[in-house]
Every structure is written in structure tokens, then in C-alpha cells.
Subunit: 314 residues, 4 copies
């Protein structure tokens, strides 16, 4: 793959469709200018089928509350902060329709794009000189942010989602710290839950880590269970559009097989967005294994990701 | 209901118990502790029916891009800003799986909670000493923000949405600045579009203003077309759960009938959330009058609202 | 004093010049509209004499470096942050005079006004309904900040400063945690150092705490040595204009005699600004007990304080 | 110079002491590791002499108030913002020494490092691959900011300052927009004011522009009067340590002789810090041509500059 990638980065051209070690990436699959990646797999038919297949109509928020104390502290990122801009007490002079004073309150939000429950844009990770699809790293500047593959391109998602409850398939409440989730474990989840992963699906992988953290704030953020390269290949082979997990990196910590190995394989090679710190406890408790997932990331021009409140409808 | 409302208000303060012009507000309707307001009207059946009724599967983002230059400048709010925290160029030393350097980029977002496309929490507006349902204004402090009715309570929305294209019903591309949308105009939209507004619906009101602004950045933000008190009563009477519009305040500017009159009537009296600066041009162009609307606001603890990327599925 | 203060706050008038328990506060001393407090004591003569009395010309910065990791974490304040806005790498296309590319870099600072080395404005603390000099608490709103006694009024200081090295006078390197510095200890410092405290002086009180913290980042921030009410009265009696210390509150932690007792006595009653987290190690090492102190706080309109880099010239 | 600089950048070595076209820069003058630049010229003797020569003891703040509306809007920088973090109204439960409630207020500051009255660190500008003294541009990363020549190195200044009132020397109130200040004009100022510029001096150059802007907020920020390359050489030849002006760039806008030409010559070649948007009106009105200037920039680790409140003592 090294040679192939270096060829691709040299020529800003496309990647062959097969490699020795498994399914190839998606460079060029949707044209040389594509910035949307595997979300191209989500056709209107996929969406319609997901919507029409709903069974309960129950609405789940997969987001953690956003506050300094409730956001997992990882990677040395600043915590999210909220500051009041206008308080009700400021407004004593404005009289409304009914003879009472009326007024409003508002606030300012200072948010890392990758803290709490968030989605990675395809420009979040690079390899060599390239983002996904060979878009050059130089398209990113500090001042403007991402010129290619920003969150504006991948921030709107609606598709069928399948929850793979990995610890449940092994009779556990949560996976051991540092456990590398394998392809066989993903297959076991599908079998236990009676479902198939289809092209265009979002896959929600439960490790149980966020629930452990919620129960004990002193839980270390390293190591963490997550997927390794083999499971990443499984997800690529199933042509999924997005992978979410209830941990900090989707992939196992420490990384298996090199720095950001799964991020590089899924985001850079295949244009598959990752969504981290997803709160999957309620879906799992309800055994709601298939849902309609809707993610509306903030379309911040140039941004590499966004905090999100992903919504799953059962 | 009148008794409940007067009970709720007697101990904290005021509010007339009934109004001549139609249904009273919703204080007490879902119990004295309710902070969710009219979103209580969105039952699982409403959601299921909305999902199963989809016709095209086309996915629409109703959000404006977020950047200093593309966010309407109203109310003297600071503009949204994005700053790079880590740039790809920072990382030259980390080697990945394939022998290439790998790395990541991320950013910081500084966002007013009520700029661009955003949703108002029920604590955004108050009357006298009360927020919606009689929750006391003193539950809000500058330091912690809202103790009641914060965006955490109303930030997760999935329901049927109807688009009322007001200018189209009058053969216009956009409404004149300052035009007060009436109940009759809303009825005319329903008739023209062949639909009814049902309990639990979100109503998307198109004025055309954002499209005018998009075409000419020098378009003044004052006055603006929007709904007045009569149309607000119409929406209350139809038991809608949320009102969105493609303008800055849903209500007409200047206010009709007093400071923040429609905000007070819908948010404070009835617990109906407002969503502003919704981009409705594409829904209107497609004549997609009924959709499944999903809004995932950021659940910032204590916040009065949130920027959002509302997603409508046709 | 309670009766006197309540009288003062009722009438927004002035305070008598003497109280049973010692020197009174300074309300009314410089007129009913004064917002500058004890800095009024710094006459041009005081400044000239301080400048002409310099002995070494050595310049000391009394500020801690500003970064998340090097700012003492107290009071749950957010840490200071710096973000790059433009990096040199962004600018590859601009050619300068000499045929080379040229460019610039800049950043954004997100700073609590009271973290690290900082000065308190006279609006930082209130008692009853009043700030210093009876300015009403209602002059402060969340939206605009301080309408009276903001940092704009007291942010420019140049005067003679005396360093009182309290642990040195007791043969210690630093004071024990929670030690209450007494008037007798301040007198002992003056005697040991051969100096008098004069009207208009700034007093720099060394406890040694910051040096202990610099040597061991795990040093708890509570309790801390600092002055109590007796020493505060001593400082009032000496008509000082500002009190700085190398701890987090100038006053002892836990407070002696009630919530924020010394802050209230010095800031609210007497209009004496406090400056916290001053780095006094180098002055002390050089036995530079008298200096010209210059503090240029950021004149942020409405702010309650400012991070500062106080400069002492020996 | 081009050849010399490229040699220097290739070898990260030092600069010869003379060039064909005038006084050389200061690379290597204070050793290969120096990050302090011309501030090395400010010896203790310079400071002592400046302090002892004071005549009035009057204290001047050279800073503009910091607020969104009062900060000149140039270079598309975000405006400075202040947000209240804790308001007095939040604190109703804490009782102090005298039986009254007591409490505090504080705020958050969001400040561009180069807006309003500010000082440039020596890493603010680069040429080729180098900052001042050949420090490599790669020592700067977006994540950490400046590794060399940050504001921490040059943020503490105390020295003799001379005010050169350029328009006054020509009988004007302010210079015409775009006027290039020449060496002859600086000489004329010295002669009119009866002073010499000495090694280690800070030079305050008045153009009158900020006063024009203060009188008419619609004054364009482009073009502006300022110094050109000849005046920059004059300042280098006089071995000054810092140049301040009451305009946006010290140098004339549009640049004379290429992008950032004077910035490059003074900052990169000679290590002379620039201070912009200095408020010189009061010094000029008082004809206070010689003062002790003290600048305490915020020592933000990695920052390229800092807002400042420079203080001049007459």
C-alpha cells in the first residue's frame, strides 16, 4: 500500500481497486474531486427504506451533555465552556404586551471541534501529503482551515444505523481496557442481533467504556477498547458510510499497527467518517439494533469536525 | 387548565388565566415541573407516521454555513469564529502504518448560541419573573446559566414538519420587508399545498428573506417579514411543537404588539421552541411541503439555545 | 460598621471618617463619584520621588508565564488558552523587498480576567448592594459588565512599591499553609528591611507560596498563607494604594472572619486594588525592597480585572 | 542583503555587520541564540538615567479602551470581546463579616493578540525561512505557537522614550493619509523638540491618525501615514529598541517597497519590536517629549504579540 499511496500523492490520482491485504480504499471511486466519501453510498433508497422500517418511533439522543466536568478529558484538548452573554437580570426596562417586563438571555459557546460527542470531518486526518481522495494537505491553512473535505461536506447524515453491541455478544457489560475488537466479534454481533450490515449503513459499535466512565469519573482514558485494523477492513468491505463508537477514538488505544492506524485506513483511504463518544447505553438497553440515524453537524466553514447531537429513531 | 395555570402563576407571579382570542398557554399542561413544553406533543406515533410517510428520501440541510461573513449580523451579537488548534503542518515526526507521516488537525469554535441557524431553548425568553411553566427567572444565573428549561431539555427533536411557503401562496418570491404574516395567509398556504397542520407538527414558515440576503449581502436586517400575534395564536391553536422560519426572529420586525411579543406568546406561554435563520429555499424549490424534521441541538449544560443543522427528509 | 455601610448604601452617600475599630474606609474621601479609590493617593510627587530614588535600574517582571499548565488552578476558573490564528506556513505567496517570501503570524487569546498574575478592579467585589464608594451593584450587568469601577478606572498604576518579605523576617523560606499574616509581622518586615510604608505606596507581600508551587505543581491551592483583617487594617492605616501578593487571594485561605473578608475591607471599604499571583522571588532574592512599580492592566471596557505583567524597577 | 539573508537562512548562522546599503541588521550581535533583539540595548544605566531624568511625574496610559466598538477594525481580525463569567446577581447566599451578603464578579476576555493597542513579538514577522536572528520558521507550530522569539522574550520593557510629533513639526494636526514619513522629518522633530535619539531609546512616532479616527469612526483604515524604509534605516542607525506609533502598522499603508517592508527590516533584520495603535494625543498635548516608557505585555507562552497598556511617565 505504501507504494500505491505514494504514487497517488505524487500524481493526485486514484487508487487501484484491490490490494494484497484486502479491500482497497475509495480514492477516485466517486470522481477525483469528491469530498463526501462513503456518504455517497447513502442513496435516497437507503434513507427511505430505513425510515419506512422503523418500529417504535422512539427518539434517542446519542450525545453526552456538554460541560467542562462531563466531557471526557482526552488528548489534552481544552474543555468546552459556556458563558452567559445576556442574563435575564440585565433587562428591567423593557415592557411587553401584558404590562410585564420581558427580556431574553443568551450565551457564548467555546467548543473544541473534537471534544465530547463529535464527528470527524474527512480532513481531520492525513497520510503523507494527502487527505482522503488525494486532496493535498496544503489545501489546509491555519488561517482558513480546511479548503477541502471540511465538515461542511460531511456534516449532514441520515441513514440506517446498526448497533453492534460487542460486550453483550460476549456476555460482558463492557470490554476490557485495551481490548482489540476483531472482525469475528463484529460477525458474532450480527448473528446474535439477527441483522446484516449493508452498504450505506452507519455502524454504532458499543464497547461500554462511556458507561464505565459515567459510573466512575476517575476511569482512565487510556487504554481503551476499540476496533483494530482487521475490524476496520471488515467495515470497509461492508461499504459502511460512518462508524460511531462509545469511546474516544473508535479505534483501540493504544493504536494497533501504528499511529492513528484505523483513522488513516477508514478516513483517509476510504472516506468513512468517524463519530466518537457516542452514548449508546439507551439503544443497547432497549435492544434497538436498527434505527434511522440523523447527524446534523455544525457546518462551520473550514472546520475539521463538529460537536454533534446524533439522533437515532427506533 | 385555567386553574392549573393560575395556580402555577399565583405563587410566583401573574399571567391572565384565559385569553379572549383562543387557547391559553400551556403552563401546567404537562405537570408543574415540565421543561419540555410542546415537544410533549410529539408522540412515538407522530414520529412513526412521519417516517413512514416519506416519499423521496431526499435529505435537506436547513443550516446556513457558519462563518463570520456568512452569518446574518443581527442584534449586535459577536460573529462566529473558528480557529485552528492543530494544523497538519505541525506534525512531521509521526510515522504511520505505511511508512508515511500521519497526523491530524483540529479546531476551536467560538459560537454565539443564537447566531446563524439556531434554536431557542425555552429559557431564552421570560415575562415578569417567569420562564415557561412558571419556572422562576432566578433559576438562571450568569455563572451556571439556565437551571431550568435549558437547551438540554428541548434540543432533541424529531417530528413531522410542514413547510408553509407564504410568498408562494401570494405569487411572490419573497415577502415585503416588515410584512406581518396573518392567520389567513397560513390557512391559504395549507390550502394551496393540500395539507393540514396537526398536533406535534413543526411548522416551517418561509418568508424568502434569507434568500434575498443570500443574493444581496447588503440587505438590511430590519425590518423583516414575520408572523404577528394572530398567526402565533393560530400556531398555538394547532398545537404545533416548534416554529421555524427563514428570518431572524420568526416574528415580524419591528415587533407587533410589544417587545418580543410573539416570542413571549409562543415560548413563555406555550413552550413552543423557535428556530431561526432556517434555510428553506431547497425544500420550497422542490415543493417538499411535508418532511421528517430532525434537530439535534448541542446539549450544552445551562445554555439558552444552540446553533443547529436541522435536517429534513422528504 | 454594619450600620454605617447600610446607611451608606441606603443613601448612596458617604462614610464617616472614623470607626470604633480603627481607620475607616475611603467612601466619599475623593468625592461621591470617585471610581479610582486609593490610587488617588499616588500624586505626581510620589511618582517622581519613586523614580528618582531608584538604585540599580534592574527591571523585574512580576508575572507568571501564561499557559494552561503554568497558571495556578484555583476557584474553578477556566484555564487561559492561546490559539494560532495565522501561521507562517499559511503564507507562501507573498514576496517581500528582498525577493524572499515574507509573512506574519498572529494568535487569539482566551483569558479569564482573574487567572494567573492579575489585578482586581474595584468592581470585583461588593458588599450588600454596593461596590466601593457606594456605587450600586445594579450598575453591573452581565451584558455590559461593570458600569462603575471597571478596570478602565484603576488599570494604570505607577508608584513606589515596598516588598515585605514575611517568611524571611521569620527565617523561613515560605510561610506555612494557612498562616495568617499579622500586623506585627508586617512591622517586623519594615524594621528588618529598614523602610517605612508611606501613603500611596504599593505593598508587595511575599508568602513564598508561588515558589513552592513552582517547585511542586501538586502543591494544594488550599489552604494558603495570606493576610487577615488585622493586617488589612494596618495597610489601610498606612494609606497604601495597592496590595500585591504571591498567593491566590492576597488574603489567607480559608478566609479569616467571613467570606472574602479582606477583599471587602480593602476593595469595597477602602478602594485599594489587589494584585494576585505576583512573582516576587527575584525581587526577594536581590533584596530589592523598594522599587518603582508599573502596572498596565488591559483597559477592557466593563471588565472586573485583567491579567497583568507588573514591572518593578529596582 | 538578499544574498546575505539567504546565506544566513541556509546556515542558521550570523549576519555580517555592514551591508552595501546602510547599517546592517542585528543578527548575531547578541549571540546566535538571542531572542530579545534590540532590547539588549536597554542597559540598567539607560533605565536609571531615564528614571532620574523625569520632570513631572505625570502618568500617561498609551492604550485605547478595549471593546468591540472602540478597537480599530483592520486586517480582518476578530474584534475583542468580554463576557461576564460571574455576575454580582448570582451571589445571594454568601454572608460576609458585617452581616451583608458579599460576592464577586469576573469575566472572560477573548482578545486577538494584535488588535487595539498591542506590541509585536519578534516572531510576528518572518522573511524566507527565518525569524529574527535566523531562528527558523519551523520553530513555530500552530499547536504550540512560537518556539522562539515569542512575546515572553520581549514583553517586558522599561526605557527612555522620545516622542517625535511629526505633524506638529510641519504645522499640521495630523499627517495626510498615506504620507511616507522620511528621515528628514524625524530629524526635524528632534530639532524642534530639542532632543537626541539615543541607543536603547523607544521612539514614539505620532501621525495623528488615531485622533482622526477617534473624532470620526468612519475614517478609513487604508491608506495611513507611517514610516517608510528610509525612516526605518534612520531608526536602526540610532539603535532604538522599540518603535511605537499611533497608527495600525507603524509603517505606511500601502507598504513602501514591498509586502511588510518596514516590519521585515525592523523586526526580522534588527530585532526591534513594534507597538501599534499607541495613543499619543495626551503626551503630544503636554509636549511631553521625553518619558520613561514601561510596557508589560502578557507573557503568553508561544504568543506572537499581546495587547498592552503602555505607560509613559513624564
Amino acid at each position: 500500500m505504501a507504494a500505491i499511496v505514494s504514487l497517488a500523492t505524487r500524481t493526485r490520482s486514484i487508487l487501484p481497486t484491490m490490494q494484497a491485504d484486502g479491500p482497497s480504499g475509495n480514492w477516485g471511486r466517486w470522481g477525483p474531486d469528491d469530498e463526501r466519501g462513503a456518504l455517497n453510498l447513502v442513496t435516497a433508497e437507503v434513507v427511505l427504506e430505513a425510515a419506512r422500517g422503523l418500529r417504535t418511533g422512539k427518539v434517542y439522543s446519542l450525545a453526552l451533555p456538554i460541560s467542562r466536568s462531563r466531557t471526557p478529558a482526552v488528548w489534552d484538548r481544552p474543555p468546552p465552556e459556556r458563558f452567559t452573554r445576556t442574563a435575564p437580570q440585565d433587562q428591567v426596562e423593557r415592557e411587553g404586551t401584558h404590562g410585564h417586563r420581558v427580556g431574553s438571555a443568551d450565551d457564548m459557546l467555546v467548543l473544541p471541534s473534537h471534544a465530547g460527542t463529535h464527528i470527524d470531518a474527512l480532513c481531520h486526518v492525513f497520510e503523507g501529503d494527502s487527505f482522503y481522495n488525494g486532496h493535498p494537505v496544503d489545501s489546509f491553512t491555519t488561517r482558513r482551515g480546511a479548503g477541502k473535505c471540511s465538515i461542511v461536506r460531511t456534516g449532514t447524515v441520515a441513514t440506517r444505523a446498526v448497533l453492534l453491541d460487542v460486550p453483550a455478544a460476549s456476555g460482558l457489560e463492557s470490554l476490557p481496557a485495551g481490548h482489540v475488537i476483531t472482525a469475528a466479534e463484529l460477525d458474532a454481533c450480527c448473528e446474535r442481533e439477527g441483522l446484516d450490515v449493508r452498504p450505506g449503513d452507519a455502524v454504532l459499535i458499543r464497547t461500554g467504556w462511556l458507561e464505565v466512565l459515567a459510573g466512575d469519573a476517575s476511569t482512565p482514558s487510556f487504554p481503551q477498547a476499540g476496533i483494530g485494523l482487521e475490524a476496520a477492513s471488515w467495515l470497509q468491505a461492508h461499504d459502511v458510510c460512518l462508524v460511531a463508537a462509545d469511546n474516544s477514538a473508535v479505534e483501540v488505544l493504544p493504536f494497533e499497527g501504528g499511529e492513528l492506524a484505523v483513522h488513516v485506513q477508514l478516513i483517509v483511504h476510504s472516506g468513512i467518517a468517524l463519530l466518537e463518544h457516542a452514548w449508546l447505553a439507551e439503544l443497547a438497553a432497549d435492544r434497538c439494533y436498527v434505527s434511522l440515524l440523523v447527524v446534523g453537524a455544525l457546518p462551520v466553514v473550514g472546520a475539521t469536525g463538529s460537536p454533534v447531537n446524533p439522533i437515532a429513531i427506533g
